[in-house]
Each structure stands twice: as C-alpha cells, then as structure tokens.
Symmetry: C2
Subunit: 162 residues, 2 copies
DNA sequence: TTGAAAAGGTGGAAAAGTCAACAATCAAGT
DNA sequence: ACTTGATTGTTGACTTTTCCACCTTTTCAA
C-alpha cells in the first residue's frame, strides 16, 4: 500500500528531521479534513475550537493558547469576522483587547468538525499504549525546552580538521 | 454536551498541535544555528547533508530523502548551484533527472556545521533514555503512517449518540 | 513504433508566515 | 495627576512556503 512512503523515516536520520516530516504529514492531513468541511484554514479552526471548548474567549489568551504569532492572529481574526464566524466586542477590563464571541455559524461548524477531528486523534494514537503516550508527552516537553538553546560551541580540537 | 473531549484538553491530548509547536521551536533553533555558520537555509542544508553522507546523489532520491516538495526542491537546488555549493550533471540513466555533485565549498560547510548539529542532537535527547527514544521513533513512524488517512466519516449513529 | 499514461522538473500565483513601525492602553512609581 | 516603560493589537512591506498548471522525458503496452 502507501506505507513506507519515505525511505527517510526508515533510515533513522535525525530526530528534528523526522519530527518535521511527521508535522508536515499531520498538517496535510488536517488541512484536507478541515477544508473538506468548510472554508476555514488550520489556524482559524484552532481559534474557533479554543473558544468553542470554553478554554478562553479574549484575544491575548486565545492567541497564546493557539500559539499563533500576534500579527497573523490579528489577520486571521479579522477574516473570521468577515466570514461571519465571530463577533468582536470591546473588553471592559482591558480596552486593548477584545472579547471574541462565536456566531451560530461557527458553532455549527464546530459541531460538525469536532467529532471528525476527535476520531482522527483516536486514529493517530490507536497503535500506542498509554505508557507510550506518556513518554511522548514528556519527550515533547523536554525537547521543547531543549530547543531554546542555540549556542553549541564546538571545542576547537574538534574543528581543526579542515 | 460535555463529553470526554473536555478531559482530552485537560490531559493535553492535542498531539498534532503539540507536535506543531515543538516543530516550530526546533525549526527556529536550527535556523539560528545554520545561518550563524553560513548562508544556507534549512532545506539547502539538508540537501547538502544527504549527499555528503553518501546516502543519495541523484535528484529524485535526494528529494525523497529530504522530504522537500518537488517545486521547492527545484528552486533550492538551483540556488545551491548559483551559490557554488553543487554542480549538476546530466543523468544518463534518466535524462529527466540530474546527478548532484558537491563542491569543495559544500564539503567545508558540512565539515563545520555537521559537528555542531550533532552536538545539538545530543543536547535535545540528553534528558531521554534509550528506551524512551525507541518509543519516540516508533511513535513517529506509527503516526506518520496514520497521517495518510483522511476519510474520517463519522457514522450517523455515532453522531446521534454523542 | 507509436501513442497514452506516468514521473520529473519548472515557473508563476496564492497562501502563510515574519518583521518592524506605530498607536492605544495599562501598570506603577513619583 | 503625570511620566515612564511595557503590553497589546493593527498595519503594510517583505520573505518563505505551498499549490497548481504546464512541458519534457520516460515507461509501458498494444
């Protein structure tokens, strides 16, 4: 079938590379599913979902929760507004921010797409045990921390061979 | 309305999202390191690396091994050629493809940057055990395969129950 | 051998993401 | 109240990435 689509993953190359490959595959998958069910892109869907699940409903917390750059977040939010998925209200507690309210349209979209993506999530981890999943979550956290460091000074002795 | 999805959020079960975040962090890290050592970007470096390691040396296999989109690969390769990192030779076996040869410049770049990225790799996984790493490699493979499926049609019965 | 289908590569357009400047707002100390 | 510095969001220019339509070459089968 279509498994072993890359020799790259089988070759046991570097971990960041494999994660990048995996991320690409997951992105492509999500994109196909999401666009099949409506006119939202991935970033817009994440915004809708965070609000629909009641996690956050003001701009900055939503932005932080979705992990989207503030510039792009501003653009995505305004297109969401233009498309009629959200209504923006002034936030009395902090007049720089907005309170985001989902419209009926957004709620319907979420009701349709949410279960599909839940099913996808189950499918993704179906072959993994609870213990393995725990390891993965830990590893993600560990590596995300480790990704902050950028100064890897190689000892001179190692660099001499030129 | 409240179902297991809520716990899923609390448990941090949004795996594709976390992988995406992790990938962003790793990409940013790699970008800083690579640009500090030269004028290659991440995709170009990967091409150089696959060839330098002797894994492949013709266009399509290199492209598959690096996992780069064929359009972007074409562009990256031509800029690599312009910058003097590679020389392209016609491939007699398949005249659509090229044989890629690294120049001395590319070899020197690889000698310099390779050890630094190896050090980075060690740093990334320093907090993980061998067993955990094995789990991660397995999980990446499993999920990359699972990411190929895009038809998650929710049975009508399931939609009514929940 | 020839014609259709598949694969490789190219270039342009569109989307996504990045960056810097700016204005409004807030927080906090004076 | 007033100043200072930090946060937030918006905008426009810019770069990078992704997508798609097209052309050439190869492959395969009749």
């Amino acid at each position: 079938m279509t498994n072993s689509r890359d020799n790259a993953i089988d070759l046991g190359l570097l971990l960041p590379f494999q994660i990048s490959q995996l991320n690409s595959a997951l992105n492509a998958q999500a994109k196909v599913i999401i666009t099949r069910y409506g006119d939202l892109n991935l970033a817009q869907w994440r915004i809708v979902r965070v609000i629909a699940l009641g996690i956050e409903n003001t701009t900055t917390p939503v932005r932080k929760a979705t992990g989207i750059d503030k510039s792009q977040f501003s653009k995505m939010l305004s297109t969401l507004e233009k498309k009629g998925y959200v209504v923006l209200h002034p936030n009395e507690e902090d007049k720089r921010q907005h309170v985001i309210e989902l419209t009926e349209k957004a709620r319907i979209a979420h009701e349709r797409l949410g279960p599909v993506l839940d099913e996808r999530q189950r499918h993704l981890v179906a072959a993994l045990t609870e213990e393995e999943l725990a390891v993965i979550y830990k590893a993600i956290k560990v590596m995300a921390d480790a990704a902050q460091k950028t100064d890897f000074n190689i000892p001179i002795s190692e660099m001499e061979e030129e």
